[in-house]
């Protein structure tokens, strides 16, 4: 299908595909097995300018938008979602600065993120606060020219690898959700430390760790936007980033279809390639159809966001929900089509199936996406009456 990409967008897609093919594919199984962070891949992506996609040119980036980001993420995910998560999480950490940072904050942090020299991370989740983000406990207290952060964050992607963390903390408990604020934390800040690195089912090349703020002192000018804007920063960030998670689903599912279709053409049982059995061919047909539908939804949503539209919450949620559910289904069916081979570590599809699950969980579970869409529908149809 031709999505009428610009020459520049094709260039981004092709370069990401080349790196995925030449650098990531040959080592993905080893990274997964050893649960090893892909430093070499991150370096290559930086040299290729791919970390600069969404960063404006004045800060050393390429000035692209959501669609450009999705194209790169899709191609990287086709090879390895562990690697693409480490890549995309840097944008998740960068968006708050990009969307709400002051000129000084942008000048200080964005160029190093754009070059890939510094990875970024985004920290909202806590041990007792997942889907219910408003219940976070980490607090930030203003003291003179500083804020003192107390608490901890859980399961933070790029934790321990990042050079910049955007952290949401409560500045005024009495104001409820309007009492949260977003801050920039650097690894060297006194009282900041990285706790345990998690061992995971999938995306094992990515680093997921705890962040600990033990009376962590940061200069007051690390506040993003104003006090009280914490959840606005977080929600606007997710609006931008969710199509990227959808793109991970599209890429991952495409990678699984590539494997399943190629296998089905060569594997013979009962004297025939198994692709000639209608039951198998129909599975492949459904996989391909749903992937294309997911891709169309992701690209359309990304273009809508890039047009500057404001009402993006619902479509952004849809563009995360659908392709990631598709990725889970497609990777499961890919294992089914490969049969026992698919269950073995010698083939990449079992990893793909393990990797798919996270896409339905992080950046808002798919139940939460449905809640968002449902609430929007409730509002829309309320207005029409």
């Amino acid at each position: 299908m031709d999505y009428f990409l610009t020459e520049e967008q094709e260039m981004i897609r092709d370069l990401a595909r080349q790196i995925a093919q030449e650098r990531i594919k040959p080592i993905r199984a080893q990274l997964d097995e050893a649960e090893e962070f892909p430093h070499e891949i991150i370096k290559a992506l930086g040299q290729a300018d791919l970390f600069g996609i969404i960063i404006p040119e004045e800060y050393g980036g390429l000035g692209g938008g959501c669609l450009e980001n999705c194209l790169a993420v899709e191609e990287l995910s086709r090879a390895c979602v562990g690697c693409s998560t480490s890549y995309a999480a840097s944008f998740l950490g960068a968006y708050p600065i990009l969307l709400y940072g002051s000129k000084e904050q942008k000048e200080k942090y964005l160029p190093a993120i754009a070059s890939g020299e510094t990875l970024a991370a985004f920290a909202l989740t806590e041990s007792a606060s997942g889907s219910d983000a408003a219940s976070i406990k980490t607090e930030a207290v203003r003291q003179g020219d500083e804020y003192i952060l107390r608490g901890s964050k859980q399961w933070i992607t790029n934790g321990g690898e990042a050079g910049v963390y955007t952290v949401v903390a409560i500045t005024d408990r009495s104001k409820g959700p309007r009492g949260a604020s977003a801050f920039i934390v650097e690894p060297g800040d006194p009282g900041f430390s990285v706790g345990k690195k998690e061992s995971k089912l999938g995306i094992r090349a990515s680093a997921t760790a705890e962040l600990i703020f033990n009376d962590c002192r940061i200069p007051a000018d690390r506040l993003l936007s104003r006090e009280g804007m914490g959840f606005v920063v977080a929600m606007r960030t997710f609006d931008q980033s969710r199509p990227g998670v959808g793109a991970q689903g599209v890429g991952l599912a495409q990678g699984a279809l590539d494997e399943a279709a190629a296998f089905a053409k060569t594997r013979k049982q009962f004297g025939k390639p198994i692709i000639t059995f209608q039951a198998v061919a129909h599975m492949l047909a459904d996989m391909a159809t749903k992937i294309e539908a997911g891709r169309a939804l992701v690209y359309a949503t990304a273009r809508y966001i890039d047009s500057g539209a404001k009402d993006i919450g619902k479509v952004s949620a849809m563009s995360k929900l659908f392709p990631t559910d598709v990725a889970m289904e497609v990777t499961t069916n890919a294992v089914q089509i490969l049969g026992g081979h698919g269950y073995m570590r010698d083939y990449p599809v079992e990893k793909m199936m393990r990797d798919a699950k996270i896409l339905q969980i992080y950046e808002g579970t798919n139940q939460i996406q449905r809640n968002v869409i449902g609430q929007e529908l409730n509002k829309e149809y309320g207005r029409k009456k």
Partner: protein, 265 residues
Amino acid sequence: MKIIVCIKQVPDTANVRLDPETHTLKREGVESIVNPFDLFALEAALRLREELGGAITAITMGPPQAAEVIKEAIGYGVDDGLLVSDRAFAGADTWATTRALAAAVEHLGGADLIVCGKQAVDGDTAQVGPGLAQRLDLPQVAFVKGWREISDGHLVLERQMDDGFDVVRLPLPGLITVVREVGEPRPPSLKGKMRAKKYQVPAVGAAELGLDPAEVGLAGSHTEVVKVFAPQAGGDRLMLGGTAEEAGARVIDLLVEAKVIAGGA
């Protein structure tokens, strides 16, 4: 540091076939690529520029379409390029090639360092790098696999040998040819590729370089290709059966019989 990298456009040998009649390479329909060894030369130049600053110019001699490899080099991040192209250069052997390349280097005002790949995968001579150094009267180190010390005045290099490596000090200006171990080529960059799209590759011919057509191309070549042929795969084959131990013992007996290895107690 002013660095010149010499690169060559070659047929993608992974897909090239021989004409069974003439035994020459069938180039039609085969994609052209940057000589793979030259990508290591580019990588070496880019790493040296990262450390020492300065600028890199990529030069290539070839037909007009060889401008493509200059654009590719721009995509990898080199600063400038030069296409050395003229009908008069056609059919050049390594002697005539180094004549034209030396003139191009002088046309660019020389360099502190010239970097070449160890050899081109189409000709496989490994002569152009060292020949170019000779033409320019520059010190040279071939088969460089890495460096221990770099400065504007000299490089301390590791030269790959069959049995290990040498450590060699090269005063600059000088020339090196590099092998794969010098470092995995980085991917091209998006900014580089965007610049390459618009980049107009400067070109020079024999006249601009002040070269007499008789010294270059086929006319200036000393090599005469008498015949090209595929070597016959020959020799006898012997399959040994039995267990691995039995076959292994038999191999040793045969090698001793053939006096390839010495028999002993």
